[in-house]
Amino acid sequence: MSIIKAENINKTYNENTIPVHALNHVNLEIDRGEFTAIVGPSGCGKTTLLNILGGLDQPTTGKVTISDTEITSMKDSELIDFRLKNIGFVFQAYNLIPVLTTAENVEFIMLLQKRPKEERDQRGMELLREMGIEEKARQRPSQLSGGQQQRVAVARALASKPQFVLADEPTANLDSTSTTQLLDIMAKMNEEEGATFVFSTHDQRVIDKARRVVTLEDGKIVSDEKR
């Protein structure tokens, strides 16, 4: 059974002035435990698609269902709550709260979910250990490298025990070593914890690590291969 089901998604920006058709009749299903890359040239609609799958944006027409819950008809406030409980996010940048330490950043999302203290501490430390940044727990994001910051972001995303994690170009600001490291950790979490990842990229090294590659072009899915 799929956790994400996008049916016939259309997204048009600037409907009233110069319309931009960012997504055209996109149909996509993602199953639990998948490790999927959304790829394609710049401007093909990757960010738009991820935003719609994550309930950050609404499609012009079409329907998104996440584990039997249709999110395209939800109100704004319901969506915030839904995202908190079901979806982990990793953005290209500005993932972390600069005034909180690494550990606090990871804890924060669990605090929003009202999880008990022991669980927050335990899961937080466990994730930081998995990410290999245990010793940075008491440091602020500004004291971390870009790659380390993104690993904290992945830890933060996983801390909420989401149905799946959406990552929009998580490696765009990273050098090749950090890119490989981050992808390896994501793949490991996918294998060990069965965490579902959907990420966008146009980096070939990242694409190589994916188990499923969905290619977009001008807002249409042109290929979808599993490996």
Binding site: N51, G54, Y94, N95, V99, L100
Partner: protein, 403 residues
């Protein structure tokens, strides 16, 4: 955690936080000083008039008020004063014989109210002796000593020991003239005492009038005793006299008091408005600077209420930090000036003619500190609401993409 974030956010942009904190400090300090100075002016001025001129309560024959004739005396006045002095609510009571008349020096003449006083009790009730600026309090003159206000003395061109002639009519309308000698010159902020009153002793004026019956009783109540208490007690005991508190004797003072109150509100309002704009501005900057961070927080599932609270808390913390400092500076300034006073004598020529004394003693009561602080914090709060509102109006997707 929200508290932690808000608290740490304050230290993120120190300059900006200092601006907000600084305006809160200056706001509180400015308000306290303004209240202090205005208190010094207005309340000090009023206290002067009440203490030295009007007293808390005055008693007259009901006819006397409209027609100050010698015949309208207080029946058994002397007995009543003696009785009142025994009351525990009363600090002092003094009797006066009041006649309208003319005063003339060798050079000039002027209309005056001749106020016969009871030397020792007058000193107790109005501290008339303390107002004597040159010469003595009725001492050192063998016959018919008189005290004149400084203004009046200048007008008549008389000095201590100069001779003046008082002319007035007795009950039957017979004019009486008598020679008095200036024992002392008094200086006060009350225009009435300074320009239009001549103080003589009851025994002198009584002898000249041929009657020692009194026209006025002035009462100084004990501290923290409501005037009404004494007023009611008197009315219960002695019927038929007109008993008035200072607000009834001088309604213009009450009016002044109210005017002063509304001026304070205007002032407070102006300072608050300035503060609100300052805070709105800087906090809005803080929000705009963090637009992507706020977008991220909303994207990952932080509710709008929490985002709103976070921004609000930040300003509240600044208020809580700034208030004690502002209070301290305000208090320090008041402490200094309340004890030392501010000498306005350089500008006092003009001021004194309005009835102000040349040394100003600003003061604020402790409730002012509380009121000022609470209103500044409320203002800061109001100033923070708009930026916080702006923050929650952000759409996560757009905020994340903002440059």
């Amino acid at each position: 955690m929200l508290i932690k974030i808000a608290w740490r956010n304050i230290w993120r942009s120190k300059g900006r936080s200092m601006v907000v904190m600084g305006s809160i400090i200056v706001g509180i300090w400015a308000l306290i000083s303004a209240v202090g100075f205005m208190n010094g002016f207005m309340v000090g001025y009023m206290a002067d008039i009440i203490n030295h001129d009007i007293s808390n309560i005055q008693i007259h024959n009901p006819e006397f008020k409209s027609d100050q004739e010698v015949k309208y005396v207080i029946p058994d006045g002397k007995k009543k004063v003696n009785e009142i002095r025994k009351w525990t609510e009363v600090e002092g009571a003094t009797s006066r014989i009041i006649v309208s008349g003319m005063i003339a020096s060798a050079r000039k003449g002027s209309a005056v109210q001749i106020r016969g006083v009871d030397k020792s009790n007058e000193a107790k009730v109005t501290e008339l002796d303390s107002l004597v600026n040159e010469g003595t309090y009725f001492d050192g003159i063998k016959r018919n000593p008189i005290l004149l206000g400084k203004k009046l003395a200048e007008e008549l061109k008389v000095k201590v020991k100069s001779k003046v002639i008082l002319t007035f009519m007795d009950e039957s309308g017979t004019p009486i003239s008598a020679r008095f000698r200036v024992a002392g010159i008094i200086n006060t902020s009350s225009v009435n005492l300074n320009e239009m009153t001549a103080f003589v002793l009851n025994e002198d004026i009584g002898r000249l009038l041929g009657s020692y019956e009194i026209h006025e009783i002035a009462i100084l109540t004990m501290p923290r005793i409501e005037e009404e208490v004494v007023l009611n007690k008197y009315n219960d005991l002695f019927k038929g006299d007109l008993v008035e508190t200072w607000t009834q004797v001088a309604p213009e003072l009450e009016l002044l008091n109210e005017m002063y109150g509304s001026m304070m509100y205007v002032l407070v309002f102006i300072v608050m408005m300035a503060l609100v704009f300052g805070i709105v501005n800087t906090m809005l900057m803080a929000v705009l600077e963090r637009i992507r961070e706020l977008g991220m927080l909303m994207a990952v599932g932080m509710t709008r209420i929490k985002v709103f609270l976070m921004v609000l808390l930040e300003t509240i913390f600044l208020g809580i930090l700034g208030s004690p400092i502002g209070l301290f500076f305000g208090w320090l300034m008041m402490y200094y000036y309340t004890t030392n006073g501010i000498d306005l004598s350089a500008y006092s020529e003009g001021l004194e003619s309005f009835g102000y004394s040349s040394i100003l003693y600003p003061y604020v009561d402790s409730s002012t500190y509380l009121i000022v602080t609470v209103s500044v914090i409320i203002t800061a709060f109001i100033g923070a609401v708009y930026p916080a509102w702006k923050a929650i109006k952000l759409k996560p997707v757009e905020a994340l993409h903002a440059i």
